[in-house]
């Protein structure tokens, strides 16, 4: 009987969102192959693990060791490698979270197997290479490729499959405790603490309205008008890489491939040309309003609404109008 192993990260006793997506993806692969679906969790408690039954998991391998109290990338990789070595898996599937990606890469490096990151679809076959599609350039470009390996290793690109909802009435998964063999050398790099500083990154990622500025703002000072518009709209401020490279704004506000991904109801992009590396960070925005002097700028092709004009005149006028309307209402 063939089997698929999915790496799951638990938060408050349930799989985190990206893990729930990976479970859905892995479930589809297992079904196509007629394979069992196993999960591996490093650390954590057995009761919560049994709950993965609702996600279609038959057996959860709970890799535990008293040396796994705080996250250590290589040790997590070793724990998963132990589970993989003891079974016979066609593939190991993980989410594309920082941690899951890192753990899978450690597994790949230890075992010398290839690994494909940010996979959007796979055509599983029992023997030989799988045809897969994966993201390049953070999703601005797709690659059709073949992936082989024993087992095949892949991470699932975020938000290409829905997060799985647990089926009500499904029985619990079998929980199999596995002693993780962790060496001193696996623990050389590890978490020693946490610095809790609520940065503004989270609010940018979650904001309902984002006001963004780029090179067209012309100066650091000009961003004051964006702060003001954001203030009256209850919006977060985001920027292009040019604005951060020039030191106008901190990198925590950068939207794009090497910045934050936003998903607001409205993104107001001011003086931003729409380079693919910027737009890829805003592709989950429901609507984009562009304010730009150049109607030929690529961003117009991504815009829902557009105002052709100079940000320095248009933005203050919008702020004033919002104030007027709010005052009247």
């Amino acid at each position: 009987m063939s089997a698929i192993l999915v790496f799951v990260e638990m938060v408050d006793g349930v799989p985190d969102r990206l893990s729930a997506e990976a479970l859905g993806f892995a479930g589809g692969v297992a079904k196509a192959l007629g394979a069992d679906l196993d999960a591996v969790i490093v650390g954590g408690d057995a009761t919560a693990a049994a709950g993965l039954g609702g996600y279609g998991v038959g057996t959860v391998r709970l890799a535990t060791s008293d040396r796994l109290s705080s996250y250590a990338p290589a040790a997590w990789g070793a724990a998963v490698a132990g589970v993989v070595a003891a079974g016979s898996y066609d593939a190991v599937i993980a989410s594309a979270s920082d941690t899951a990606t890192e753990v899978l890469a450690h597994l790949a490096a230890r075992t010398g197997q290839p690994m494909a990151a940010n996979v959007t679809s796979a055509e599983p076959v029992a023997a030989g290479a799988w045809r897969i599609t994966r993201q390049r350039w953070a999703g601005s470009l797709l690659e059709d490729a073949t992936l082989d390996g024993q087992p095949r290793l892949l991470t699932v690109a975020p938000h290409v499959v829905p997060a799985m909802e647990p089926a009500a009435g499904a029985g619990p998964a079998t929980v199999d405790r596995v002693d993780a063999a962790v060496t001193d050398s696996d623990l050389r790099a590890r978490i020693v603490g946490r610095d809790v500083t609520a940065g503004d990154r989270v609010s940018l990622a979650d904001a309902k309205v984002v006001v963004g500025g780029g090179r067209g703002m012309g100066s650091a000072e000009a961003f004051a008008m964006l702060d003001e518009l954001a203030g009256v709209l209850g919006a977060a401020v985001g920027v292009s890489r040019v604005a951060t490279s020039l030191g106008w704004r901190p990198h925590t506000q950068q939207i794009g491939q090497t910045g934050t991904r936003i998903a607001p109801d409205l993104y107001i992009a001011c003086g931003i040309s729409g380079a693919i590396q910027h737009i890829v960070g805003a592709k989950s925005a429901k609507r984009i309003l562009v304010i730009n002097t150049d109607p030929e700028a690529p961003i117009f092709k991504r815009a829902t609404y557009a105002v052709v004009g100079d940000v320095h005149a248009v933005v203050p006028a919008i702020t004033a109008e919002v104030r007027r309307v709010k005052g009247a209402g």
Partner: protein, 255 residues
């Protein structure tokens, strides 16, 4: 202190990507080339650490002969030496890349002593494999952490911070180590004119690695994601558009 930084030459695609006729590569005829912003930050971090601690920094890439340009960009902001592992420009998979880089690191270390720190980008800009740094570290038996937004080196230890929701996780790892950095760890400087001139004169140490067998994933073809190209509704031009803009905001319920 000795630091090695690894960078990868990629095309600076602007508003849209055009593919070659065979669909296997980006048409780069009209494009400039850069390295990933993460790697630019890794280069800046290396220069700052050497400025603070003394020693030598080395930048290395595996890529076509033209990748010497990206090495010179790093020399221009203060990296001491540049090493090019020259290929025919075809796509090397992450396993092959890491194998060639590992061999080169061993060779450099045999000649001039170990690197205390190897800095890589969190992921390459183009292929985004998220693995070359980890494969290299495992092959060299060194600790590694990725996704790093702040780094401190003291008494043979690296303290590194990774952003998580609500703050930073703090990692510790003993040197020698490999660290994968993210843009935002610093603000890279612009090269000075004397820096550029100096870089132009420096030698790029070039060798040609053997290509290991294909590990995969094996690239078959590229394609652009299907995007609905929107036909933007023009709300007006200049400040006179403001009332219509605000009306739309009310219609869509953000006001």
């Amino acid at each position: 202190m000795r630091i090695l930084v690894l960078v990868k030459r990629v095309p600076a695609t602007g508003g849209r990507i055009t593919l070659t006729d065979d669909g296997r590569a980006i048409d780069t005829r009209f494009l400039g080339f850069v390295v990933s912003p993460h790697e630019e930050c890794a280069v800046e971090e290396a220069v700052r650490l050497i400025e603070a601690n003394g020693g030598e920094s080395v930048v290395m890439t595996l890529g076509p002969a033209e990748a010497a340009d990206q090495l010179r960009d790093a020399l221009a902001i203060g990296v001491d030496r540049a090493v090019l592992l020259e290929t025919d420009g075809s796509d090397w998979d992450p396993l092959a890349t890491a194998t060639a880089l590992t061999e080169a690191v061993r060779r450099l270390e045999d000649a001039d002593g170990p690197f205390d720190l190897i800095l890589v980008g969190n992921e390459s800009a183009d292929s985004g494999g998220f693995q070359v740094g980890i494969r290299l570290a495992v092959a060299l038996d060194r600790p590694v952490v990725t996704g790093i937004k702040a780094l401190e080196i003291r008494d043979g230890m690296a303290t590194a911070r990774r952003q998580v929701s609500g703050g930073f996780d703090i990692y510790e790892l003993p040197l020698p180590a490999v660290v994968g950095v993210r843009e935002g760890i610093n603000l890279p400087r612009y090269p000075s004119v004397p820096g550029r001139l100096r870089a132009k004169k420096k030698e790029v140490e070039t060798s040609t690695p053997d290509r290991p067998g294909n590990g995969g994933p094996v690239l078959d073809s590229l394609k652009l994601p299907v995007e609905q190209e929107a036909q933007a509704e023009i709300l007006g031009s200049g400040p006179e558009a403001a009332p219509r803009v605000v009306e739309v905001m009310r219609e869509i319920g953000v006001l």
